[in-house]
């Protein structure tokens, strides 16, 4: 099986690269890129929350920035206002994001497709404007800054995310864990229920699945992913700001996900990496890098409508067919369109 070998090879190479980043990258380019790759990991987790809803349940959310913002503010307010230490603040961020997702999900998942997209964006706009207007608490557009508490205090030895290498590994560990959880859930009976709803919600309800409850579960899970990424981003930037709750932030995650390949585990990572790397490379040479980003989004959609990972998977399937001399079985998780 060339396909299996190729997949394992790529996964090993990818993992080896990610583990080696703190030593490899400073030697090859410079330290700055370690923080860029940290940022890519955080944003790809955020894009994964869009992917979980859109790629696996068929709900296009345009409001994930709301839960990202709650994760962010949970951490920032936890540290700055309540004087929490690292882990409780992290927990506060995640729990408040999930609670918000539960409350808005109760209403939002009753709707589907266009209506769902609009109501999620409306909810996120409501809280964006609230955050902007409650300046004493949230700092509005300027945001609030905080100093980073140590992660652990190990018998006098203090570990803190101010060390870029430690910060990188912390983010890598958290993001990997989340993606692993997502992988397990998608391959569980619950995940099969998600896919059934994505492909046809009427049929799913007729075979006895509780469509409303499953969608709500997925929505809260997506809120969890967005909350974790928001909390990580707050630690990474040491601040929280209302600007990250605007609908354009949600929109970017949708674009990264679809360009990378919706409905694939690593699609959001690929899409996010592509856009952020281009932004970082081009913006230092040319001020108008948005032109290239925009052009790229259009070209991918026209020439690779299933996203980059979707394109790659299609190529793998053709490889399989040639090996076996017959059409490969169609895999359920590889479709970009719900």
């Amino acid at each position: 099986m060339r396909r299996r070998a190729l997949e394992i090879g790529m996964a090993t190479a990818g993992a080896a690269f990610l583990v080696a980043v703190p030593w490899l990258i400073p030697a090859l380019i410079d330290n700055f890129w370690v923080s860029v790759i940290t940022e890519i990991l955080i944003w790809s987790l955020f894009a994964s929350s869009v992917n979980l809803l859109f790629g696996y349940v068929g709900l296009l959310s345009f409001g994930q920035a709301l839960y990202f913002g709650f994760g962010m503010y949970g951490v920032a307010l936890g540290i700055d206002h309540f004087g929490l230490s690292f882990w409780p603040a992290f927990g506060l961020g995640i729990v408040s994001a999930m609670a918000m997702a539960l409350v808005s999900g109760v209403f939002a998942v009753r709707l589907s497709w266009h209506y769902f997209a609009i109501i999620t964006v409306v909810f996120s706009l409501i809280f964006y404007f609230l955050a902007v207007s409650m300046k004493p608490l949230t700092g509005g557009d300027d945001g609030i800054n905080f100093t980073l508490p140590p992660v652990v205090n190990f018998g006098g030895k203090v570990f803190s995310l101010t060390d870029p290498t430690l910060q990188y590994f912390f983010v890598l560990a958290v993001v990997s864990l989340c993606l692993f959880l997502m992988h397990r859930i998608i391959n569980s009976p619950l995940g099969k229920g998600f896919l059934a709803i994505r492909d046809n919600d009427l049929r799913a309800s007729l075979i006895g699945l509780n469509v409303y409850a499953l969608r709500l579960i997925a929505f809260v899970m997506a809120g969890f992913l967005a909350g974790v990424s928001g909390a990580l981003f707050a630690f990474f930037g040491r601040y929280a700001s209302a600007t990250y709750m605007f609908y354009q932030v949600s929109g970017e995650a949708v674009v990264w996900t679809i360009v990378g390949g919706a409905g694939t585990l690593f699609g959001p990572l690929v899409g996010t990496a592509l856009f952020i790397v281009i932004r970082e490379i081009v913006s230092s040479h040319w001020e108008h890098h948005s032109l290239i980003v925009g052009l790229l989004a259009i070209l991918v959609v026209i020439f690779a409508p299933k996203g980059i990972v979707g394109l790659f998977n299609g190529w793998l399937s053709r490889l399989d067919e040639r090996d076996a001399g017959q059409p490969a079985p169609r895999r359920l998780t590889l479709q970009a369109e719900p």
Binding site: F54, L60, F107, R110, L111, H114, Y115, A117, I118, I119, V121, V122, F123, L125, I126, F129, L130, V132, S133, Y247, Q248, G251, E252, V254, V255, I258, V259, A262, H288, S290, L291, V293, G294, L295, L296, A297, I298, V300, V301, I302, P305, A336, E337, P338
Partner: protein
């Protein structure tokens, strides 16, 4: 107190008429091509910038009223042909494609027009007394122009061959094609008209708002709300919803600050979505 209420309500009403023009463009594109157009706010922004350029080049404000929709139409037609047609009406893909379009339009404006927001002087200065307050003449004029354009568009849709083609393709594409209607050309035309409506709205609104390369960002969600509250595919509903939303926001602004007003209109919007997802006007507008 009564004067502020009246002033803000009037402002809201007139802004609503302009938004209605833009939202109508969005609704037409959405209904006929099934394209979720993230770049629509930027079409409006392009209109304001075109008005600014034609004023500074020719010194005549009114040329902008002609230039903005014409250039908008041409740009829209070209964009449809190059970007929209290849994705075959896949709604999820259209979000990405129009997002890219939005970035490109904003960046081109930033290169040519600059990043600093500018204000444009209204071509008609002065105020007239109206219900006991002094009201800007240009705003009244803008309302009249917007109303005329809305009326013109509905006449076009009802009574011209192209308008009938557009309605036919929207109603049943396959039958329309079988009857010999060139559907592909109708799509190009529709996208052009959608862009032209937004750009014209921009030209009318230019002296009322600021001309800025990010000017479309705030307008976009508002237009989508109008389209949804009015009911998908219900064009008169879209217009009514835009005017109603903006009028209500103006009213609330007279007792609370603008952000609170925006939040309350958003809350209202969620209530409509949850209670009447088919739109506010289904049942009494055919």
């Amino acid at each position: 107190m009564r004067d502020t209420v009246l002033l803000l309500a009037m402002n809201g009403l007139i802004w609503g008429l302009i938004i209605a023009l833009i939202a109508l463009g969005l609704s037409v594109i959405f209904g006929l091509l099934d394209i979720i157009n993230i770049a629509h706010g930027d079409f409006f922004m392009v209109g304001t910038v075109l008005a600014w350029f034609s004023l500074s080049v020719t010194g005549n404000f009114w040329i902008g009223f002609l230039v903005a929709p014409v250039i908008g139409f041409v740009l829209g037609a070209i964009i449809q042909r190059i970007v929209i047609q290849p994705i075959h009406g896949a709604a999820a893909l259209s979000i990405v494609a129009t997002f890219g379009l939005s970035l490109i339009l904003q960046e081109i404006v930033r290169i040519t027009f600059g990043a600093t927001p500018r204000r444009m002087l209204a071509p008609i200065q002065g105020t007239i007394p109206l219900f006991g307050i002094d009201y800007e003449i240009y705003r009244l004029f803008a309302a009249a122009v917007a109303l005329a354009a809305l009326g013109g568009f509905f006449l076009f849709l009802q009574h011209t061959k192209l308008g009938i083609w557009m309605r036919a393709v929207r109603h049943d594409r396959d039958t329309a094609v079988a009857m010999g209607i060139p559907a592909k050309r109708v799509y190009v035309l529709t996208f052009g008209i959608g862009f032209a409506l937004a750009a014209f709205g921009g030209a009318v609104a230019a002296p009322i708002t600021t001309v800025d390369f990010r000017g479309g960002v705030d307008v976009l969600p508002f237009c989508f709300m109008a389209v949804i509250i009015g009911g998908l595919g219900n064009l008169p509903g879209t217009v009514a919803a835009a005017v109603l939303l903006s009028f209500l926001e103006g009213l609330i602004q007279s007792v609370a600050d603008p952000t609170i007003a925006r939040i309350s209109s958003l809350v209202l919007m969620s209530a409509v979505l949850l209670l009447r997802p088919q739109g506010l006007f289904k049942g009494f507008v055919k």
